[in-house]
């Protein structure tokens, strides 16, 4: 009803994601990944997915879970290969991978949310990333033309959200979650704490709810640490 974006759970949030869909998934490494939605995608068993995500998880967590079940046809990422199954599928040709610079990845999300269809960036000039891309020269400097992403779904994880879809992230878990939330034709947000409208301070919203279409409170967050490092 109205502007209430709430759905019951991850299963309902992803109910219309079909085989062959393109999905953005927020997070950096395992930090701030949409754990509940990934579990639901695995349970639903949708296949031939194109996943846009900075990384591809580890063998038994994150997007790695969707690789185990061979649901991913293509990964668009900046840094991958922290898991053996990923490497095996890549080398056997089962999995296609497009590697792009991290800032370009983030900006292609942001520009989708800003309504700017393409943008110039110096990242990748003179490298194989430039192959087949348009370039422009301004004031003697060369730039690649990169397109804003055009993804059917974006799935992000936030710390707090309200029923209108306003989102607040915690610490470095904001990472790709904020720009991806702005980029999906349908954006799904899972949050640790879902509150009623009026309970979040409007000054502290990181992504306004206009960008978010579905929201639910997740459960049983593992929040796994990839590289536990402590002081001596």
């Amino acid at each position: 009803m109205g502007l209430n974006k709430c759905v019951k759970n991850a299963e309902e949030a992803i109910h219309d994601i079909q085989d062959g869909a393109t999905i953005m998934l927020g997070g950096f490494g395992l930090c701030g990944i949409p754990e509940n939605s990934i579990t639901a995608l695995v349970a639903k068993g949708v296949k031939n997915l194109t996943c846009i995500s900075n990384n591809a998880g580890v063998d038994d967590f994150g997007i790695g879970l969707m690789l185990q079940t061979k649901q991913v046809k293509k990964m668009i990422s900046s840094y991958v290969g922290e898991n053996a199954e990923f490497e095996r599928q890549l080398l056997s040709g089962e999995l296609e991978v497009e590697l792009i610079p991290q800032g370009t990845l983030a900006t292609r999300c942001l520009m989708a949310g800003y309504g700017i269809p393409f943008f110039p960036t110096p990242a990748g000039v003179g490298t194989e990333v430039a192959d087949g891309k348009d370039t422009v020269v301004r004031n003697g400097k060369t730039y690649l033309i990169e397109d804003a992403f055009d993804a059917e779904f974006a799935i992000v994880k936030a710390w707090k959200g309200d029923t209108y879809g306003n989102l607040i992230f915690k610490d470095t878990a904001r990472n790709f979650n904020a720009p991806m939330a702005m980029a999906g034709k349908t954006t799904i947000a899972e949050v640790e704490h879902l509150v009623n409208i009026g309970e979040l301070n409007p000054n502290e919203i990181h992504v306004p709810g206009i960008y978010v279409h579905r929201i639910f409170e997740g459960s049983n967050y593992e929040k796994r640490i990839e590289q536990l490092t402590v002081r001596n």
């Binding site: 800032g103 194989e128 470095t172 990839e226 536990l228």
Partner: protein, 219 residues
């Protein structure tokens, strides 16, 4: 015998200036944070979305939501700020970060760098390296002078796939300090027990020894 990794980091730390915002890459560059000179204030940027990165947490105080670009648990310092990945690379692209220190597989005498891909080996990706080298005003490379087979990593031209063109300003290796000039590598300092002859023998790119080339000061 040249410098060890900590000594390379220690030498690079002398390049830090009061008020600098600094991005340190993974590997030797990370160690630079251990040698920030007393009496100056610098802010470390982690490109996954933090300015003001502090040391690793005390055991039991780690937080899964607070990591660096190497995915290690970290802490924040007073005055720190969080932001998203798009803004992070925005500030990098806009030249707000004063100094970037990163590792490399090869550096060419014209400042080209290769550090992301070895054909035939598993390719993990460039991460933020291409964005950093394309925009940073001041890039210092920290690396071993030669590879494990003894081949020079300071070359006339990079053999490996390029990360960025004409971007490196200075290279600090286990053997010495090398500025990138229009005439190639200029050796301005050499490690305490390394001879100029050894540096010449192990540098494939065009090399000039500065007239006032001095011994590196490291502990």
């Amino acid at each position: 015998m040249g410098l060890n990794k900590n000594q390379i980091a220690q030498r690079i730390a002398k390049e830090l200036q009061d008020g600098f915002y600094v991005n340190l890459g993974i590997g030797i560059p990370t160690l630079v944070a251990n040698y920030i000179p007393h009496g100056i204030e610098v802010v470390l940027q982690s490109e996954n979305g933090l300015l003001g990165m502090g040391p690793f947490p005390i055991a039991g105080h780690e937080d899964a939501d607070l990591i660096n670009a190497g995915k290690q648990t970290i802490t924040t310092l007073p005055g720190s700020a969080f932001f998203d990945s798009a803004m992070s690379f925005g500030m990098i692209r806009a030249g707000k970060v004063h100094l970037t220190v990163l590792g490399a597989m090869e550096v060419a005498e014209n400042g080209d760098i290769a550090n992301w891909k070895v054909p035939g080996k598993m390719v993990k990706g460039m991460g933020g390296a291409m964005d950093l080298v394309a925009s940073a005003k001041n890039i210092i490379v920290a690396m071993q002078h030669t590879d494990k087979a003894g081949n020079s990593k300071l070359l006339p031209a990079c053999h490996l796939p390029i990360t960025g063109l004409h971007c490196v300003k200075k290279v600090v290796t286990d053997l010495g300090v090398f500025e990138i000039t229009k005439d190639g590598f200029l050796c301005t300092e050499h490690a305490p027990d390394v001879t100029i002859e050894e540096i010449k023998a192990k540098t494939a790119g065009k090399l000039t020894i500065a007239a006032d080339c001095k011994i590196m000061e490291v502990a």
